[in-house]
Amino acid sequence: MKTKIERLSSEQEAEVSVWRDRYWDIGTCTDPIDRAKAADAISRMYGFIGKEQPIFVWCESPFTSSLAVSVLRSSLSISLWDSLQDSLRDSLWDSLWDSLSISLWDSLSISLWDSLWDSLQDSLSISLRDSLQDSLQDSLSSLLRSSLRDSLRDSLWDSLQDSLSISLRDSLWDSLRDSLRDSLPDLTVWGSAVWWLCFYRFCGYIGVRYSEEAALKLALYEQFACSAFWAWPYAEICIVSARPNCLRWTKKYGVLHCDGGPAVQFRDGWTLWYLNGVRVPQWLAETKDVDLAPARICQCKNAEVRREFVRKVGLDRIYHALGAMLIHEQTVTLATPYSEAWSCRYRLCEMRCGDNVRRRVLEMPNPSLPGVLHVEYVPVQCETVEQAMNFRLNRSEEDVDDDAGADWFLHGDVIIVPEQAGRLKRWPARIA
Protein backbone atom coordinates (compact mmCIF):
# COMPACT_ATOMS: atom_id res chain seq x y z
CA MET A 1 0.00 0.00 0.00
CA LYS A 2 1.20 3.45 -0.90
CA THR A 3 2.47 5.52 2.03
CA LYS A 4 0.63 8.72 2.78
CA ILE A 5 2.57 11.93 2.36
CA GLU A 6 2.97 13.37 5.82
CA ARG A 7 5.05 16.46 5.26
CA LEU A 8 6.64 18.44 2.50
CA SER A 9 10.32 18.26 1.77
CA SER A 10 12.18 21.54 2.14
CA GLU A 11 12.37 21.76 -1.62
CA GLN A 12 8.60 21.28 -1.91
CA GLU A 13 7.97 23.84 0.81
CA ALA A 14 9.97 26.37 -1.12
CA GLU A 15 7.79 25.67 -4.15
CA VAL A 16 4.50 26.51 -2.40
CA SER A 17 4.77 30.25 -2.90
CA VAL A 18 6.05 29.75 -6.44
CA TRP A 19 2.97 27.71 -7.33
CA ARG A 20 0.63 30.13 -5.62
CA ASP A 21 2.15 33.05 -7.50
CA ARG A 22 1.92 31.12 -10.76
CA TYR A 23 -1.82 30.61 -10.35
CA TRP A 24 -2.32 34.16 -9.17
CA ASP A 25 -0.77 35.23 -12.45
CA ILE A 26 -3.11 32.92 -14.38
CA GLY A 27 -6.19 34.17 -12.52
CA THR A 28 -5.29 37.82 -12.96
CA CYS A 29 -3.98 37.58 -16.51
CA THR A 30 -5.14 40.42 -18.76
CA ASP A 31 -3.92 39.02 -22.07
CA PRO A 32 -6.35 38.83 -24.99
CA ILE A 33 -8.36 35.64 -25.27
CA ASP A 34 -6.74 32.67 -26.98
CA ARG A 35 -9.74 31.41 -28.91
CA ALA A 36 -8.10 28.31 -30.31
CA LYS A 37 -7.02 27.05 -26.91
CA ALA A 38 -10.33 27.95 -25.25
CA ALA A 39 -12.36 26.30 -28.02
CA ASP A 40 -10.24 23.17 -27.86
CA ALA A 41 -10.65 22.89 -24.07
CA ILE A 42 -14.40 23.45 -24.15
CA SER A 43 -14.97 21.13 -27.11
CA ARG A 44 -13.18 18.36 -25.29
CA MET A 45 -15.20 19.05 -22.13
CA TYR A 46 -18.36 18.71 -24.25
CA GLY A 47 -16.89 15.47 -25.60
CA PHE A 48 -16.63 14.10 -22.08
CA ILE A 49 -20.39 14.36 -21.67
CA GLY A 50 -21.13 13.03 -25.17
CA LYS A 51 -21.94 16.37 -26.79
CA GLU A 52 -20.78 17.66 -30.14
CA GLN A 53 -18.46 20.64 -30.35
CA PRO A 54 -20.66 23.71 -29.84
CA ILE A 55 -20.88 26.84 -31.95
CA PHE A 56 -18.83 29.47 -30.15
CA VAL A 57 -20.01 33.02 -29.56
CA TRP A 58 -17.00 35.10 -28.57
CA CYS A 59 -17.56 38.16 -26.44
CA GLU A 60 -15.19 40.70 -24.98
CA SER A 61 -16.71 40.79 -21.47
CA PRO A 62 -19.12 38.98 -19.19
CA PHE A 63 -21.46 41.90 -19.77
CA THR A 64 -21.72 41.41 -23.52
CA SER A 65 -21.81 37.67 -22.92
CA SER A 66 -24.91 38.14 -20.82
CA LEU A 67 -26.38 40.36 -23.50
CA ALA A 68 -25.67 37.64 -26.04
CA VAL A 69 -27.51 35.12 -23.90
CA SER A 70 -30.48 37.48 -23.60
CA VAL A 71 -30.57 38.22 -27.32
CA LEU A 72 -30.27 34.56 -28.10
CA ARG A 73 -33.09 33.76 -25.79
CA SER A 74 -35.38 36.45 -27.10
CA SER A 75 -34.74 35.48 -30.71
CA LEU A 76 -35.52 31.82 -30.23
CA SER A 77 -38.82 30.16 -29.59
CA ILE A 78 -39.32 29.06 -26.01
CA SER A 79 -39.16 25.40 -26.94
CA LEU A 80 -35.92 25.87 -28.89
CA TRP A 81 -34.41 27.84 -26.06
CA ASP A 82 -35.46 25.20 -23.57
CA SER A 83 -33.87 22.51 -25.67
CA LEU A 84 -30.70 24.58 -26.01
CA GLN A 85 -30.58 25.19 -22.34
CA ASP A 86 -31.44 21.57 -21.77
CA SER A 87 -29.59 21.36 -18.52
CA LEU A 88 -26.20 21.39 -20.19
CA ARG A 89 -24.95 23.38 -17.29
CA ASP A 90 -26.11 20.60 -15.00
CA SER A 91 -24.72 17.94 -17.31
CA LEU A 92 -21.40 19.66 -17.57
CA TRP A 93 -21.28 20.22 -13.89
CA ASP A 94 -22.50 16.79 -12.85
CA SER A 95 -20.58 14.79 -15.39
CA LEU A 96 -17.40 16.74 -15.42
CA TRP A 97 -16.78 18.68 -12.29
CA ASP A 98 -18.60 16.65 -9.67
CA SER A 99 -17.01 13.43 -10.85
CA LEU A 100 -13.70 15.22 -11.14
CA SER A 101 -13.83 16.59 -7.64
CA ILE A 102 -14.80 13.20 -6.20
CA SER A 103 -11.97 11.55 -8.08
CA LEU A 104 -9.45 14.20 -7.01
CA TRP A 105 -10.69 14.10 -3.46
CA ASP A 106 -10.29 10.32 -3.35
CA SER A 107 -6.74 10.55 -4.64
CA LEU A 108 -5.89 13.16 -2.08
CA SER A 109 -7.41 11.30 0.84
CA ILE A 110 -5.41 8.22 -0.10
CA SER A 111 -2.18 10.14 -0.43
CA LEU A 112 -2.16 13.03 2.03
CA TRP A 113 -2.35 13.17 5.80
CA ASP A 114 -5.10 15.49 6.98
CA SER A 115 -2.66 17.87 8.62
CA LEU A 116 -0.73 18.35 5.40
CA TRP A 117 -3.97 18.65 3.45
CA ASP A 118 -5.20 21.43 5.73
CA SER A 119 -1.90 23.18 5.69
CA LEU A 120 -1.67 23.07 1.91
CA GLN A 121 -5.20 24.36 1.53
CA ASP A 122 -4.33 27.23 3.82
CA SER A 123 -1.09 28.12 2.13
CA LEU A 124 -2.08 27.50 -1.48
CA SER A 125 -5.76 28.06 -1.87
CA ILE A 126 -7.11 30.46 0.71
CA SER A 127 -5.38 33.63 -0.43
CA LEU A 128 -6.10 32.90 -4.07
CA ARG A 129 -9.70 32.03 -3.34
CA ASP A 130 -10.27 35.10 -1.20
CA SER A 131 -8.99 37.43 -3.89
CA LEU A 132 -10.04 35.75 -7.08
CA GLN A 133 -13.29 34.16 -6.11
CA ASP A 134 -14.61 36.46 -3.45
CA SER A 135 -13.32 39.74 -4.75
CA LEU A 136 -13.54 39.17 -8.48
CA GLN A 137 -15.97 36.38 -9.34
CA ASP A 138 -18.62 36.96 -6.72
CA SER A 139 -18.73 40.68 -7.17
CA LEU A 140 -18.80 40.47 -10.96
CA SER A 141 -21.52 37.86 -11.06
CA SER A 142 -23.80 39.68 -8.63
CA LEU A 143 -23.09 42.90 -10.44
CA LEU A 144 -23.83 41.54 -13.88
CA ARG A 145 -27.50 41.20 -13.33
CA SER A 146 -28.05 44.67 -11.91
CA SER A 147 -25.63 46.34 -14.29
CA LEU A 148 -27.14 44.79 -17.36
CA ARG A 149 -30.62 45.64 -16.24
CA ASP A 150 -29.65 49.21 -15.42
CA SER A 151 -27.94 49.78 -18.74
CA LEU A 152 -30.80 48.41 -20.74
CA ARG A 153 -33.27 50.29 -18.66
CA ASP A 154 -31.42 53.57 -19.12
CA SER A 155 -30.95 53.23 -22.84
CA LEU A 156 -34.50 52.07 -23.26
CA TRP A 157 -35.81 54.93 -21.21
CA ASP A 158 -33.63 57.43 -23.05
CA SER A 159 -34.98 56.34 -26.36
CA LEU A 160 -38.56 56.15 -25.25
CA GLN A 161 -38.98 59.01 -22.85
CA ASP A 162 -40.19 61.53 -25.38
CA SER A 163 -42.54 59.33 -27.25
CA LEU A 164 -44.23 56.98 -24.87
CA SER A 165 -46.49 57.42 -21.94
CA ILE A 166 -45.25 56.61 -18.48
CA SER A 167 -47.51 53.61 -18.17
CA LEU A 168 -46.23 52.14 -21.41
CA ARG A 169 -42.64 52.77 -20.35
CA ASP A 170 -43.26 51.11 -17.06
CA SER A 171 -44.81 48.07 -18.56
CA LEU A 172 -42.01 47.73 -21.13
CA TRP A 173 -39.43 48.05 -18.42
CA ASP A 174 -41.24 45.52 -16.28
CA SER A 175 -41.41 42.96 -19.02
CA LEU A 176 -37.80 43.56 -20.02
CA ARG A 177 -36.68 43.28 -16.44
CA ASP A 178 -38.63 40.09 -15.96
CA SER A 179 -37.27 38.61 -19.14
CA LEU A 180 -33.70 39.45 -18.17
CA ARG A 181 -34.12 38.14 -14.70
CA ASP A 182 -35.28 34.85 -16.12
CA SER A 183 -32.76 34.61 -18.89
CA LEU A 184 -29.49 35.52 -17.25
CA PRO A 185 -27.73 32.27 -16.64
CA ASP A 186 -25.59 31.22 -13.77
CA LEU A 187 -21.97 31.55 -14.66
CA THR A 188 -20.58 28.10 -14.71
CA VAL A 189 -17.06 27.84 -16.04
CA TRP A 190 -14.67 30.24 -14.46
CA GLY A 191 -11.29 30.95 -15.91
CA SER A 192 -10.42 32.74 -12.72
CA ALA A 193 -11.36 29.85 -10.41
CA VAL A 194 -7.77 28.85 -10.25
CA TRP A 195 -7.50 28.54 -6.50
CA TRP A 196 -8.61 24.93 -6.47
CA LEU A 197 -6.62 24.16 -9.63
CA CYS A 198 -3.54 25.37 -7.81
CA PHE A 199 -4.25 23.09 -4.88
CA TYR A 200 -4.82 19.95 -6.92
CA ARG A 201 -1.98 20.59 -9.32
CA PHE A 202 0.45 21.17 -6.49
CA CYS A 203 -0.68 17.94 -4.85
CA GLY A 204 0.09 16.22 -8.15
CA TYR A 205 3.54 17.78 -8.06
CA ILE A 206 4.29 16.37 -4.61
CA GLY A 207 3.26 12.88 -5.59
CA VAL A 208 -0.51 12.48 -5.43
CA ARG A 209 -1.52 10.28 -8.35
CA TYR A 210 -4.80 11.05 -10.10
CA SER A 211 -6.63 8.78 -12.51
CA GLU A 212 -5.83 9.38 -16.16
CA GLU A 213 -9.29 10.82 -16.76
CA ALA A 214 -9.11 13.15 -13.75
CA ALA A 215 -5.69 14.38 -14.79
CA LEU A 216 -6.96 15.11 -18.29
CA LYS A 217 -10.00 16.99 -17.03
CA LEU A 218 -7.79 19.04 -14.75
CA ALA A 219 -5.53 19.85 -17.66
CA LEU A 220 -8.52 20.92 -19.76
CA TYR A 221 -9.77 23.17 -17.00
CA GLU A 222 -6.36 24.72 -16.72
CA GLN A 223 -6.14 25.14 -20.49
CA PHE A 224 -9.40 27.06 -20.37
CA ALA A 225 -8.25 29.15 -17.39
CA CYS A 226 -5.10 30.07 -19.30
CA SER A 227 -6.96 31.18 -22.39
CA ALA A 228 -10.28 32.84 -21.50
CA PHE A 229 -12.30 34.24 -18.62
CA TRP A 230 -15.78 32.73 -18.30
CA ALA A 231 -18.02 30.49 -20.39
CA TRP A 232 -21.74 29.88 -20.56
CA PRO A 233 -22.20 26.37 -21.93
CA TYR A 234 -25.47 25.43 -23.64
CA ALA A 235 -26.39 22.56 -25.86
CA GLU A 236 -24.91 23.41 -29.30
CA ILE A 237 -23.84 26.92 -28.32
CA CYS A 238 -21.19 28.14 -25.93
CA ILE A 239 -20.74 31.81 -25.13
CA VAL A 240 -17.24 32.67 -24.00
CA SER A 241 -16.00 35.88 -22.45
CA ALA A 242 -12.51 37.25 -22.94
CA ARG A 243 -10.40 38.35 -20.00
CA PRO A 244 -10.31 41.92 -18.76
CA ASN A 245 -7.53 44.12 -20.08
CA CYS A 246 -7.10 45.81 -16.71
CA LEU A 247 -7.29 44.46 -13.17
CA ARG A 248 -5.98 46.43 -10.23
CA TRP A 249 -5.69 45.21 -6.65
CA THR A 250 -4.71 46.61 -3.28
CA LYS A 251 -1.81 44.17 -3.39
CA LYS A 252 -1.10 40.66 -4.50
CA TYR A 253 -3.81 38.45 -2.97
CA GLY A 254 -5.67 41.60 -1.99
CA VAL A 255 -8.98 43.06 -3.11
CA LEU A 256 -9.95 45.04 -6.19
CA HIS A 257 -8.91 48.63 -5.78
CA CYS A 258 -7.83 51.63 -7.80
CA ASP A 259 -7.87 55.17 -6.47
CA GLY A 260 -7.80 57.33 -9.59
CA GLY A 261 -9.03 54.99 -12.30
CA PRO A 262 -10.92 51.83 -13.12
CA ALA A 263 -10.07 48.65 -11.24
CA VAL A 264 -11.62 46.34 -13.84
CA GLN A 265 -11.90 47.06 -17.51
CA PHE A 266 -12.74 44.87 -20.48
CA ARG A 267 -11.87 45.48 -24.08
CA ASP A 268 -15.43 46.34 -25.04
CA GLY A 269 -15.40 49.18 -22.53
CA TRP A 270 -17.26 47.55 -19.64
CA THR A 271 -15.61 49.24 -16.70
CA LEU A 272 -15.89 48.88 -12.95
CA TRP A 273 -14.48 51.03 -10.18
CA TYR A 274 -13.49 49.67 -6.80
CA LEU A 275 -12.00 51.12 -3.64
CA ASN A 276 -10.75 48.55 -1.14
CA GLY A 277 -12.97 45.85 -2.62
CA VAL A 278 -16.11 48.00 -2.64
CA ARG A 279 -17.65 48.79 -6.01
CA VAL A 280 -18.03 52.56 -6.13
CA PRO A 281 -19.24 55.07 -8.71
CA GLN A 282 -16.73 56.40 -11.22
CA TRP A 283 -16.68 59.88 -9.67
CA LEU A 284 -15.66 58.54 -6.28
CA ALA A 285 -12.81 56.44 -7.63
CA GLU A 286 -11.49 58.94 -10.15
CA THR A 287 -11.80 62.29 -8.35
CA LYS A 288 -8.80 63.28 -6.22
CA ASP A 289 -9.59 63.26 -2.52
CA VAL A 290 -8.94 67.00 -2.17
CA ASP A 291 -11.34 67.72 -5.03
CA LEU A 292 -14.20 65.69 -3.58
CA ALA A 293 -16.84 67.97 -2.10
CA PRO A 294 -17.72 66.67 1.37
CA ALA A 295 -21.42 67.25 0.66
CA ARG A 296 -21.29 64.45 -1.88
CA ILE A 297 -21.54 62.06 1.05
CA CYS A 298 -25.28 62.56 0.60
CA GLN A 299 -25.04 60.80 -2.75
CA CYS A 300 -23.66 57.65 -1.12
CA LYS A 301 -26.80 55.70 -0.32
CA ASN A 302 -24.97 52.40 0.05
CA ALA A 303 -23.33 52.03 3.47
CA GLU A 304 -20.13 50.46 2.11
CA VAL A 305 -19.76 53.12 -0.58
CA ARG A 306 -20.27 55.75 2.13
CA ARG A 307 -17.58 54.04 4.18
CA GLU A 308 -15.16 54.39 1.28
CA PHE A 309 -16.17 58.02 0.77
CA VAL A 310 -15.42 58.69 4.45
CA ARG A 311 -12.13 56.81 4.20
CA LYS A 312 -11.05 58.81 1.14
CA VAL A 313 -12.23 62.28 2.15
CA GLY A 314 -11.72 61.99 5.92
CA LEU A 315 -14.46 62.29 8.51
CA ASP A 316 -12.94 65.34 10.16
CA ARG A 317 -12.98 67.21 6.87
CA ILE A 318 -16.57 66.11 6.20
CA TYR A 319 -17.78 67.16 9.65
CA HIS A 320 -15.94 70.47 9.43
CA ALA A 321 -17.26 71.29 5.97
CA LEU A 322 -20.82 70.31 6.84
CA GLY A 323 -20.88 72.08 10.19
CA ALA A 324 -21.45 68.89 12.12
CA MET A 325 -22.59 69.11 15.74
CA LEU A 326 -21.92 66.43 18.30
CA ILE A 327 -25.24 65.42 19.88
CA HIS A 328 -24.05 62.61 22.15
CA GLU A 329 -21.20 60.16 22.49
CA GLN A 330 -20.66 56.97 24.39
CA THR A 331 -17.79 54.53 24.67
CA VAL A 332 -18.62 50.91 25.39
CA THR A 333 -16.41 47.89 25.90
CA LEU A 334 -17.29 45.04 23.57
CA ALA A 335 -15.89 41.61 22.74
CA THR A 336 -14.61 41.11 19.20
CA PRO A 337 -12.87 38.17 17.52
CA TYR A 338 -9.60 39.90 18.28
CA SER A 339 -10.14 41.33 21.74
CA GLU A 340 -12.34 40.58 24.74
CA ALA A 341 -12.31 44.26 25.68
CA TRP A 342 -12.46 46.44 22.60
CA SER A 343 -13.18 50.06 23.34
CA CYS A 344 -15.81 51.24 20.88
CA ARG A 345 -16.65 54.92 20.68
CA TYR A 346 -20.04 55.76 19.19
CA ARG A 347 -20.79 59.36 18.29
CA LEU A 348 -24.16 60.78 17.36
CA CYS A 349 -23.73 63.84 15.16
CA GLU A 350 -25.85 66.05 12.99
CA MET A 351 -24.72 67.65 9.75
CA ARG A 352 -26.24 69.46 6.79
CA CYS A 353 -25.24 69.12 3.18
CA GLY A 354 -26.33 72.63 2.19
CA ASP A 355 -29.88 71.55 1.44
CA ASN A 356 -31.49 72.25 4.83
CA VAL A 357 -32.08 68.55 5.37
CA ARG A 358 -31.00 67.54 8.87
CA ARG A 359 -28.82 64.46 8.65
CA ARG A 360 -28.25 62.76 11.97
CA VAL A 361 -25.65 60.05 11.83
CA LEU A 362 -24.36 57.41 14.19
CA GLU A 363 -20.61 57.15 13.77
CA MET A 364 -18.80 53.99 14.81
CA PRO A 365 -15.46 52.33 14.21
CA ASN A 366 -15.26 49.06 12.31
CA PRO A 367 -14.28 46.30 14.76
CA SER A 368 -12.55 44.30 12.04
CA LEU A 369 -10.89 47.04 9.97
CA PRO A 370 -8.76 49.25 12.23
CA GLY A 371 -9.11 52.94 11.48
CA VAL A 372 -12.18 52.53 9.28
CA LEU A 373 -15.25 54.50 10.35
CA HIS A 374 -18.90 54.10 9.44
CA VAL A 375 -21.57 56.77 9.51
CA GLU A 376 -25.14 55.59 9.23
CA TYR A 377 -28.27 57.70 9.21
CA VAL A 378 -30.71 57.64 12.10
CA PRO A 379 -33.86 59.72 12.70
CA VAL A 380 -33.35 63.26 13.94
CA GLN A 381 -35.46 62.36 16.98
CA CYS A 382 -32.61 60.23 18.34
CA GLU A 383 -30.91 62.18 21.12
CA THR A 384 -28.58 59.54 22.53
CA VAL A 385 -26.36 56.78 21.19
CA GLU A 386 -28.61 54.24 22.93
CA GLN A 387 -31.70 55.58 21.17
CA ALA A 388 -29.86 55.51 17.86
CA MET A 389 -28.81 51.90 18.49
CA ASN A 390 -32.38 50.94 19.38
CA PHE A 391 -33.55 52.43 16.10
CA ARG A 392 -30.87 50.58 14.14
CA LEU A 393 -31.78 47.33 15.85
CA ASN A 394 -35.53 47.92 15.39
CA ARG A 395 -36.28 47.63 19.09
CA SER A 396 -37.58 49.86 21.85
CA GLU A 397 -36.10 50.61 25.26
CA GLU A 398 -38.63 48.14 26.76
CA ASP A 399 -36.93 45.35 24.80
CA VAL A 400 -33.64 45.96 26.62
CA ASP A 401 -32.77 44.07 29.80
CA ASP A 402 -29.12 44.06 30.72
CA ASP A 403 -29.62 41.67 33.65
CA ALA A 404 -31.88 38.91 32.33
CA GLY A 405 -31.91 39.66 28.59
CA ALA A 406 -30.55 37.19 26.05
CA ASP A 407 -27.14 37.44 24.44
CA TRP A 408 -27.14 38.47 20.79
CA PHE A 409 -24.50 39.06 18.14
CA LEU A 410 -23.63 41.67 15.55
CA HIS A 411 -21.68 40.67 12.45
CA GLY A 412 -21.31 43.76 10.29
CA ASP A 413 -24.86 44.95 9.78
CA VAL A 414 -26.28 41.50 10.42
CA ILE A 415 -28.16 41.06 13.71
CA ILE A 416 -28.21 37.52 15.11
CA VAL A 417 -30.74 36.94 17.88
CA PRO A 418 -31.79 33.66 19.56
CA GLU A 419 -35.13 32.67 18.11
CA GLN A 420 -37.03 32.43 21.39
CA ALA A 421 -35.44 35.49 22.97
CA GLY A 422 -37.72 38.09 24.49
CA ARG A 423 -35.67 40.90 25.91
CA LEU A 424 -32.08 41.39 24.90
CA LYS A 425 -28.99 42.76 26.52
CA ARG A 426 -28.25 46.30 25.38
CA TRP A 427 -24.97 45.54 23.67
CA PRO A 428 -23.99 42.49 21.62
CA ALA A 429 -22.19 39.59 23.32
CA ARG A 430 -19.76 39.74 20.43
CA ILE A 431 -19.30 42.11 17.50
CA ALA A 432 -17.24 41.75 14.33
Binding site: V278, V305, R360, V414, E419
Partner: protein, 80 residues
Protein backbone atom coordinates in the same frame (compact mmCIF):
# COMPACT_ATOMS: atom_id res chain seq x y z
CA UNK B 1 -38.92 29.47 4.55
CA UNK B 2 -36.85 27.76 1.89
CA UNK B 3 -33.57 26.19 2.92
CA UNK B 4 -30.54 27.84 1.35
CA UNK B 5 -27.75 25.72 -0.05
CA UNK B 6 -25.20 28.55 0.30
CA UNK B 7 -25.74 28.99 4.07
CA UNK B 8 -25.63 32.75 3.59
CA UNK B 9 -27.12 34.91 6.31
CA UNK B 10 -26.75 38.03 4.18
CA UNK B 11 -24.80 39.33 1.23
CA UNK B 12 -23.46 42.74 0.24
CA UNK B 13 -24.39 44.41 -3.01
CA UNK B 14 -21.28 46.55 -3.40
CA UNK B 15 -18.74 43.90 -2.53
CA UNK B 16 -20.29 40.53 -3.31
CA UNK B 17 -19.18 39.53 0.17
CA UNK B 18 -21.39 37.34 2.33
CA UNK B 19 -21.96 36.36 5.96
CA UNK B 20 -21.87 32.57 5.89
CA UNK B 21 -22.57 29.88 8.52
CA UNK B 22 -19.63 27.49 8.53
CA UNK B 23 -20.74 24.46 10.54
CA UNK B 24 -21.54 21.42 8.43
CA UNK B 25 -24.85 20.87 10.16
CA UNK B 26 -25.88 24.55 10.19
CA UNK B 27 -28.90 25.40 8.08
CA UNK B 28 -30.03 28.80 6.81
CA UNK B 29 -33.55 29.49 5.62
CA UNK B 30 -35.17 32.35 3.74
CA UNK B 31 -34.40 35.16 1.33
CA UNK B 32 -34.04 38.90 1.57
CA UNK B 33 -33.25 40.60 4.85
CA UNK B 34 -35.07 38.20 7.18
CA UNK B 35 -33.60 34.72 7.53
CA UNK B 36 -33.37 31.90 10.06
CA UNK B 37 -30.33 30.00 11.19
CA UNK B 38 -30.40 26.58 12.83
CA UNK B 39 -27.11 25.67 14.50
CA UNK B 40 -27.59 22.33 16.33
CA UNK B 41 -23.92 22.15 17.29
CA UNK B 42 -23.16 25.87 17.16
CA UNK B 43 -21.39 27.52 14.27
CA UNK B 44 -18.93 30.17 13.32
CA UNK B 45 -20.00 32.98 11.01
CA UNK B 46 -17.49 34.14 8.45
CA UNK B 47 -17.22 37.13 6.14
CA UNK B 48 -14.43 38.31 3.90
CA UNK B 49 -13.94 41.56 5.83
CA UNK B 50 -15.15 40.76 9.32
CA UNK B 51 -13.53 38.50 11.88
CA UNK B 52 -15.24 35.20 12.56
CA UNK B 53 -17.63 34.95 15.48
CA UNK B 54 -18.76 31.75 17.18
CA UNK B 55 -22.40 31.17 18.01
CA UNK B 56 -23.51 28.69 20.64
CA UNK B 57 -25.99 25.91 19.89
CA UNK B 58 -29.40 27.27 19.01
CA UNK B 59 -31.82 28.64 16.47
CA UNK B 60 -31.48 32.27 15.50
CA UNK B 61 -33.40 35.06 13.80
CA UNK B 62 -31.30 36.95 11.29
CA UNK B 63 -32.06 40.52 10.35
CA UNK B 64 -30.24 43.61 9.16
CA UNK B 65 -29.67 46.88 10.97
CA UNK B 66 -31.88 49.73 9.88
CA UNK B 67 -31.11 53.10 8.41
CA UNK B 68 -33.21 56.12 7.51
CA UNK B 69 -32.89 57.99 4.24
CA UNK B 70 -32.75 61.62 5.39
CA UNK B 71 -34.01 62.85 2.02
CA UNK B 72 -37.16 60.76 1.93
CA UNK B 73 -37.37 59.73 5.60
CA UNK B 74 -37.92 56.18 4.43
CA UNK B 75 -36.69 53.54 6.84
CA UNK B 76 -35.14 50.39 5.48
CA UNK B 77 -32.48 47.78 6.04
CA UNK B 78 -28.94 49.02 5.57
CA UNK B 79 -27.87 48.60 1.96
CA UNK B 80 -24.26 47.55 1.69
Amino acid sequence: MKKRTDKRLAEGEATGHAHVAQAEDAEVFGDGFERRLAAPTGTTISHEEHGKISLPVGNYRISRQREIDPDTEEIGSVAD
